[in-house]
């Protein structure tokens, strides 16, 4: 029991920690859920219509990568919030609250506080310096080839690892919610994502994300209101009932030891904050708006939506404690016979789904199920576009062709890259079906925090940064992150089966981020080459542009 709890907690932790991930454990295929399938089909046809509309408007590379820079701050804020409100963020956090009460809130807060800091320190400079990808910014005054290669590899690694997790999650969700076979679900998600991205580019991807964010926010709002109405809109009454029925009683109202030691707490804090600031699909969203003003607004709206959503998931989790826990309708009788307690069908991450049935009946269950699936589609589309951009814009156009490339060719490459990424994702999604993939998401986040973020941050803030420092330090951060995840409790103990982990912490960020920063610092200050001198001198011009936007990418094409 203890081991099971540990594994599922680790899963939930990693899942929640990155706003992405999977449904835990073995999943039983459920009977066909017709209303969910119909609602999902309506969503799919709607989004395909948008893709058709977007395809007609996507002519240039700028259209493809950044929707022509014509997205408004509000729309972009919705889309960023959509990237955050993944299926795992919705199901994972409400499931965590259902299981542990207060601890769910800790994770919500961890995600959210990265946002203001990104806004204050990064978003504006990023917007003023970049064009399509964050590698544009990192390579602004440094040597294109090595920096772009490093940044593109960091992006692609992050994107593929994330995609695997989303795919496995999609497959399991579909089995549970729709009653369709796993492989079919994975192929369906992959195929739709390829369609959205290749034909509609960033414009379609953004609108799929906005619509889904709207559906998810309304669905979650309805659930939270229904729960509150049940208790006469008294939070105290809701909490009192939850404390009464939950096996942990009053303990669910306080932190329960999910983050127990100071090192883990600080490391998690760093992973959440720096990891977010190094996620290529999130960074790319700052280039879809017309100017720095809209970029700032989008962070403001995104913070509002995400914060609101997390408060809703907290209420939903507590609602599930009261209305799902101990409700024989949602009980997994087979599992109960083996392990006792009162396990719910499909595991704790299904708490919100069962609650939707409890408050809104079969129709609303269908709605929430369809939205959960739509959520995965939207998130994988954003990820794939970021991965394809890294391949076509960074590797193909700027490294391989050294910037001498026409737009038509570059777009063609990005479409081919999308299809290939889609196929790889489908294959890996099927291959990883039975694996514990929690580490995959943890790894994606660790790479974003330890390789992508330090290079990006120092390229904007530190005049003494040189190519040598960035490449060696960034690579060291990447290698350290990968190594510590392998030697850590999730891979070393749970996957390789050793007794104790070589590296005791689940989150390597505190260590790998430090290695990256120290490495970049050391190999920059000791770089006495002629090139390094020029790079340091170029900082001033870069800084002026990053501060004022003089010479920055122009306004919208739409």
């Amino acid at each position: 029991m203890k081991k099971f709890l540990f594994i599922s907690l680790t899963l939930l932790l990693s899942v929640a920690a990155v706003a992405s991930g999977t449904i835990e454990g073995e999943v039983q295929k459920q009977p066909l859920n017709i209303s969910a399938i119909i609602m999902f089909l309506i969503f799919v046809s709607g989004t395909l219509g948008i893709t058709y509309w977007a395809a007609k408007r996507t002519k240039t590379a700028k259209d493809f990568y950044t929707a022509g820079g014509g997205i408004t701050g509000f729309q972009n804020g919705m889309a960023i919030a959509g990237d955050y409100m993944s299926a795992a963020s919705f199901l994972g956090i409400s499931g965590l609250v259902y299981l542990k009460g207060y601890d769910g809130l800790i994770y919500s807060i961890g995600f959210l506080v990265g946002w203001p800091v990104i806004l204050f320190l990064i978003s504006e400079r990023l917007r003023n310096l970049g064009k399509y990808t964050f590698a544009d910014v990192a390579a602004y005054r440094l040597k294109q080839t090595p920096i772009r290669t490093l940044a593109a590899l960091g992006s692609i690694a992050t994107v593929i690892l994330y995609l695997i997790a989303q795919m496995v999650g999609a497959g399991k969700l579909i089995q549970l919610l729709f009653g369709l076979p796993y492989e079919l679900a994975v192929v369906l998600v992959g195929a739709l994502m390829i369609l959205y991205v290749t034909f509609g580019g960033m414009l379609a991807t953004t609108w799929v994300q906005i619509i889904k964010a709207g559906l998810l926010l309304s669905g979650a709002t309805f659930m939270a209101i229904a729960v509150m109405a049940h208790f006469g809109f008294s939070l105290e009454a809701l909490f009192a009932k939850a404390v009464e029925v939950h096996p942990k009683h009053q303990a669910i109202m306080a932190p329960g030891g999910l983050v127990s030691d100071p090192v883990s707490a600080i490391s998690l804090g760093i992973a959440l904050m720096f990891g977010t600031a190094g996620l290529p699909h999130i960074l790319m969203r700052f280039f879809t708006v017309a100017d720095a003003k809209e970029a700032r607004k989008s962070v403001f709206f995104a913070t509002g939506f995400i914060g609101y959503f997390y408060i809703l998931t907290f209420i939903i989790g507590f609602g599930a404690i009261v209305m799902v826990l101990n409700n024989p309708q949602y009980l997994d009788v087979a599992k109960q016979a083996i392990s006792g307690g009162s396990p719910i069908l499909g595991g704790n991450n299904m708490a919100a789904i069962h609650l939707s049935h409890a408050v809104g009946g079969n129709f609303f269950l269908g709605f929430i199920s369809a939205v959960a699936f739509a959520t995965i589609l939207a998130v994988v589309s954003g990820l794939t576009l970021a991965g394809a951009s890294a391949i076509s814009h960074d590797l193909y156009a700027n490294v391989f062709k050294r910037g001498e490339v026409d737009e038509v060719k570059e777009m063609k490459v990005s479409k081919i890259a999308t299809v290939i990424l889609g196929i790889i994702t489908i294959i890996l999604g099927i291959a990883f079906e039975k694996q514990n993939i929690a580490f995959v998401v943890g790894l994606a986040f660790a790479i974003a925090a330890s390789a992508n973020f330090p290079v990006l941050f120092l390229s904007m803030f530190w005049s003494k940064l040189t190519t040598r420092g960035a490449v060696i330090g960034g690579s060291l951060g990447l290698a350290t992150a990968v190594m510590l995840v392998i030697l850590g409790p999730i891979v070393w103990v749970q996957i390789f089966g050793y007794e104790t982990p070589v590296f005791p912490y689940k989150y390597p960020a505190l260590f790998s981020v430090t290695v990256a920063f120290v490495g970049i610092w050391f190999f920059s200050i000791t770089d006495n080459s002629e090139n390094a001198k020029l790079e340091r001198e170029a900082f001033e011009a870069q800084d002026i542009r990053s501060q004022t936007g003089i010479g920055a990418e122009g306004a919208s094409a739409h």
Partner: protein, 104 residues
């Protein structure tokens, strides 16, 4: 950008004002956010029972309003920054750009 232009922008008092005030503002807000967040995280790490203190006679603990307050603080801080940046700083940076136009 030529050396003269860089020199010119750097010596522009409005540019200096923009950079100085915005940096100070951005770092101040960032530090407020970090202090609030890490105070919360370190409380959880070292003394989680502190957040479990009940309010009055009910089951509600002080941890819940504190948690929600941090979410609201994050939202308010972004609002404060966006408001000032989209008016005062954008105006300053617009003026800097206008002045640079004359010498370019």
């Amino acid at each position: 950008m030529t050396k003269e232009q860089i020199e010119h922008v750097r010596n522009n008092p409005k540019y200096q004002k923009l950079v100085k005030e915005r940096s100070r503002f951005a770092w101040t807000l960032s530090i407020i956010m970090l202090v609030v967040y890490y105070a919360f995280i370190l409380t959880i790490a070292f003394d989680p029972s502190l957040l479990g203190i009940r309010m009055g006679d009910g089951v509600m603990t002080i941890g819940i309003p504190i948690g929600v307050a941090i979410i609201i603080i994050a939202f308010i801080l972004t609002g404060v920054y966006v408001r000032r940046a989209n008016s005062e700083f954008d105006e300053l940076s617009h003026q800097v750009k206008e002045e640079l136009k004359d010498i370019a």
